[in-house]
């Protein structure tokens, strides 16, 4: 992941518009015909050289999708999406392995540079021969999988990870190399017909990351995927599958950006996590898809299904998300707490500025005994932004001694925005304990004045106070990500105070 401290500065130098990642890469691309039908599903499957079972799986998802209706219960408003008016496959044209950076498509390189990926990682990502897997000096290595529109373009540090038996690759590659693992787990956490967008994704997903951590292995570095929507009129439908076998541990990071366009582009991803006995998966997201301009034109529609299954005893899945981008965010990273004493966590910061809308939260399904979950959600609304926390805590009859604690705080900046909290608590177990707290407030005038008296500008003061407000969540992010996230928060709020 390009989550380095310099990222923001690097990118700020590139463009001085509000959204710093709004550039477009002019690169040779291959598209499938526009529109969505069975032939497109077959085309994608054929393009990926998939086995028959996977094509069948996709076609079943497509058949289900055709019978489903777009969900309308979320507190987001948008015009109808024309699913036939988009490309479902776009990929940079394949080239032979370059010998050095000079031979790599310079546009692709430029993109990595703008995104702040360090040069050494750039070489590795570009697949330069002999670049090996040695990280840049003095830095913690981060293994990166870069997904450019529909396909994974490169994955770094694969060989080094393989020494520990860790599989980290594009999911399309995993289908070829490890079909038994993919087949065993794909769709077991988020079934094809789970919801409208998950069904769509199951039919047309083009790439994404695959991770398998073998028994007892502690992944020696952060794994990350960098998602980038570049091409026009394309949807992005990546699918990520992470399996942590018994006693293993992995921390995975995900980052997203897209060019500035007047049109709305659809991103409908599915992420499935499986944690076996004593395994831990930490999944962090900094979502910074293009949010649209100050008038609400353009931006990504982010309809994402993320779910983790704590199958094993004492397993743990922790979601941390910083959602600053997208015109619309619709996502509820969830945990199915099946294994006894398993733990689910959800830490979220969501910012809506200008005309952004976010309806996000989590679902915690307590099934096994003594399962525990913690939910900390911080929503910040500015401009005309609408921010909704929507969450479900369900305690089943067998989840004796289960515990949940939920804290939802909303901060309003300006009087044209909205902050909403919609928690559902369903408890069928007398020995379970559920606690929920929610507050809504604004930045107090005396806090702002105090900071300004000490020399901070109004915007810096707001940034500082907002970061304080989000601290409980930001401290859950891996160090390098946290720094980037803090700056993002401030940038996202630019122009919100005057």
């Amino acid at each position: 992941m390009p989550a380095v401290t310099e990222t923001i500065e690097t990118v700020q130098a590139v463009t001085d518009s509000g959204y710093k990642w709004g550039f477009e890469t002019d690169i040779e691309m291959e598209f499938a015909p526009k529109g969505l039908n069975e032939d497109i599903v077959r085309f994608i499957s054929a393009k990926k050289n998939e086995p028959a079972w996977l094509l069948e799986w996709r076609l079943r998802a497509f058949a289900l999708w055709k019978t489903m209706a777009e969900p309308r219960w979320a507190a987001v408003k948008y015009p109808p999406i024309d699913y036939q008016d988009a490309y479902y496959y776009a990929a940079p044209t394949q080239k032979v392995k370059p010998k050095s950076l000079d031979e790599v498509d310079p546009e692709l390189l430029k993109t990595y540079a703008k995104l702040g990926i360090p040069l050494r990682e750039q070489e590795i990502l570009a697949g330069v021969e002999g670049a090996g897997d040695t990280p840049a000096e003095g830095r913690m290595p981060i293994a990166v999988d870069a997904v450019f529109d529909s396909v994974s373009v490169a994955t770094s540090y694969k060989d080094r990870l393989a020494k520990d038996g860790i599989i980290f690759c594009a999911i399309s590659e995993a289908v070829q190399e490890h079909p038994e693992l993919v087949r065993k787990y794909l769709g077991t956490v988020v079934p094809q017909g789970d919801n409208f967008f998950a069904a769509l994704n199951s039919a047309v997903f083009t790439d994404g990351s695959f991770v398998y951590i073998p028994k007892g292995v502690r992944c020696p570095m952060e794994l990350s995927t960098y998602f980038r929507i570049n091409a026009k009129s394309t949807g992005q439908f990546e699918r990520t599958l992470i399996i942590a076998d018994e006693g293993s541990h992995v921390s995975y990071l995900e980052g997203c950006t897209a060019p500035m366009r007047d049109e709305n582009q659809l991103h409908a991803a599915v992420v499935e996590l499986v944690a076996m006995d004593d395994a831990t998966i930490k999944y962090s997201t900094v979502q910074n898809w293009y949010p649209g301009d100050a008038e609400g034109k353009g931006g990504i529609y982010n309809f994402v299904t993320k779910r983790g299954a704590c199958r094993g005893a004492r397993s743990k899945i922790s979601w941390t998300q910083v959602e600053t981008g997208s015109a619309i965010t619709w996502k509820y990273p969830s945990c199915i707490l099946q294994g006894e004493d398993s733990v689910g966590e959800f830490y979220s910061v969501a910012i809506t500025n200008n005309y952004q809308q976010a309806d996000t939260g989590t679902k915690m399904f307590h099934i096994g005994p003594r399962t525990k979950s913690t939910i900390v959600s911080k929503g910040i609304s500015a401009g005309h932004g609408q921010n909704t926390y929507r969450g479900l805590v369900r305690i089943g009859a067998k989840a004796t001694g289960a515990r949940n604690f939920t804290q939802c705080d909303s901060l309003l900046i300006g009087d044209l925005c909205g902050a909403h909290t919609v928690p559902y608590i369903e408890n069928r177990c007398a020995t379970a304990k559920v606690e929920h707290e929610a507050t809504t407030s604004r930045i107090a005038e005396d806090q702002l004045f105090y900071c300004r008296q000490r020399g901070l500008t109004q915007e810096d003061a707001v940034g500082l106070i907002v970061n304080g407000f989000c601290r409980e969540v930001l401290k859950e992010l891996p160090m390098e990500f946290a720094v980037e996230a803090q700056k993002l928060l401030q940038i996202s709020l630019e122009g919100s105070v005057g």
């Binding site: 300006g414 304990k433 604004r442």
Partner: protein, 430 residues
């Protein structure tokens, strides 16, 4: 098929068709129009199903499948009334006003049966109820016969008034839909203590329209204590003007199914609303409190504390929404709902909700769900208190918190007795 044998919504609609020329006010075009509109709404929607978000956790299928006849035209014999709590009381039997059982002489304000006051009620009846969004309000509007018409003139302190509702079992399923209009003029005050008792396989479906004018204060205590065969579905619409206060305290403990639905709107600056309650359910019972608070003016305050105690195979629901509109700056809103599960077969569903469009507000809600705290229990037992008694102490303490903010001694006493009576019944059953 005759009206009497038709079930659910169709049965009620058939009954309306048969009765519409005989219902009170049948010769008043405005009321006929109101009823006809409501009937159209009810015909279109029927009883809400669990697919309707507001009814996600409360299933009216048993109601929708049953057939309900009218109450008896004439109730013979003595009606057993609860002991009087105050000098004045208005008594309703099967939803009909009974002057002979009431004691209203010397009351400082007007309190009487709505059926006789329809001319005066015209501007107010239907002013607040929303039959278009709540099907039960539509059902009520379509079929109401009577109810309390209360009018406290500006500046008058109406003192204490009891509203007693008795359901008399005719030996077959029956339904009644009283419509209560409570109006307080500017600066007026009143404490209303409502008791609902009686039994039989009945549906008691009251709708309240409560209008609190500038600076007026209405304290509304409710004890829903009908038999475990009764479906009690009440809907309250309250509008509170500037500096007015509406306080609602409800104890729901008795019916097979209780839905205590309150919609309160704070429409003038510095208005206040307190909604508190305790709902209890045991074997086979279902209790549901659903509130919505609309902060539509600046500087208003709202406070809600609801407690649920569930024993046996029972289910409890709390849904509470606080809406703060853009103009409602300086809103102070607080809501707490707590549930205590005493049995392994109980289920609680809770949905507190905040919807906020103004930035200078202080709003919070909290929810807790759990069993009796084992540490507290152990502490009491370590001090020599037997387990059963220790449990009783903790449950009582939990419940009493819901009524501790009631300032009127008579009302607090009555509410507390209702809570204790329920708990005593649980002890007897165990």
């Amino acid at each position: 098929m005759t009206a009497a044998t038709q079930t659910g919504a169709a049965g009620f609609l058939a009954r309306y068709e048969g009765l519409k020329d005989h219902l009170p006010g049948a010769r008043k075009p405005w009321l006929n129009a109101l009823r006809a509109d409501a009937a159209a709404q009810f015909a279109a929607r029927g009883f809400p199903t669990r697919r309707v978000e507001q009814w996600k956790y409360t299933d009216l299928a048993p109601l929708a499948q049953a057939g309900f006849a009218e109450p008896l035209t004439m109730v013979d014999g003595t009606i057993a009334l609860p002991p009087a709590l105050a000098a004045h009381r208005a008594v309703f039997v099967d939803g009909r006003f009974r002057a002979d059982l009431s004691a209203l002489d010397g009351l400082a304000c007007r309190a009487t049966g709505l059926a006789q006051q329809l001319a005066d009620a015209e501007p107010h009846l239907g002013a607040l109820a929303r039959p278009d969004s709540e099907p039960l309000a539509a059902l009520n509007t379509m079929l109401f016969e009577d109810g309390l018409f209360l009018d406290v003139p500006a500046g008058v302190d109406g003192g204490l008034l009891e509203l007693v509702s008795v359901a008399v079992d005719p030996g077959r399923p029956f339904a009644f839909h009283p419509r209560h209009l409570l109006r307080l003029g500017a600066g007026a005050r009143l404490t209303l203590i409502e008791t609902a008792i009686g039994g039989g396989a009945c549906l008691h479906n009251p709708v309240f329209e409560v209008d609190v004018a500038e600076g007026a204060t209405l304290t509304h205590g409710r004890m829903l204590q009908e038999a475990a065969t009764v479906f009690h579905l009440s809907t309250i619409y309250a509008r509170i003007a500037a500096e007015g206060t509406y306080d609602n305290f409800t104890v729901a403990a008795g019916p097979r199914l209780t839905r205590n639905e309150i919609h309160a709107a704070l429409t003038g600056p510095r208005a206040a609303c307190h909604m508190n309650g305790a709902q209890m359910a045991a074997e086979g019972q279902h209790v549901d409190t659903t509130t919505s608070l609309d902060h539509a003016a600046p500087d208003c305050a709202s406070r809600q504390t609801y407690k649920t105690v569930l024993a046996g195979r029972s289910r409890g629901v709390f849904q509470g929404k606080i809406l703060v509109r853009r103009e409602a700056q300086k809103t102070d809103g607080y809501q707490m709902n707590q549930a205590l599960l005493l049995s392994e077969d109980a289920e609680i569903d809770s949905k507190p909700q905040l919807e906020i469009y103004a930035d200078d507000v202080k709003c919070s809600h909290g929810a807790t769900v759990g069993a009796l705290d084992p540490d507290s229990l152990f502490y009491l037992r370590a001090r020599g208190i037997p387990e059963a008694q220790a449990k009783a102490m903790l449950v009582e303490a939990f419940l009493h918190e819901a009524v501790e903010t009631v300032t009127d001694d008579t009302l607090r006493g009555a509410l507390t007795r209702a809570l204790d009576a329920w708990w005593a019944r649980q002890g007897a059953a165990a």
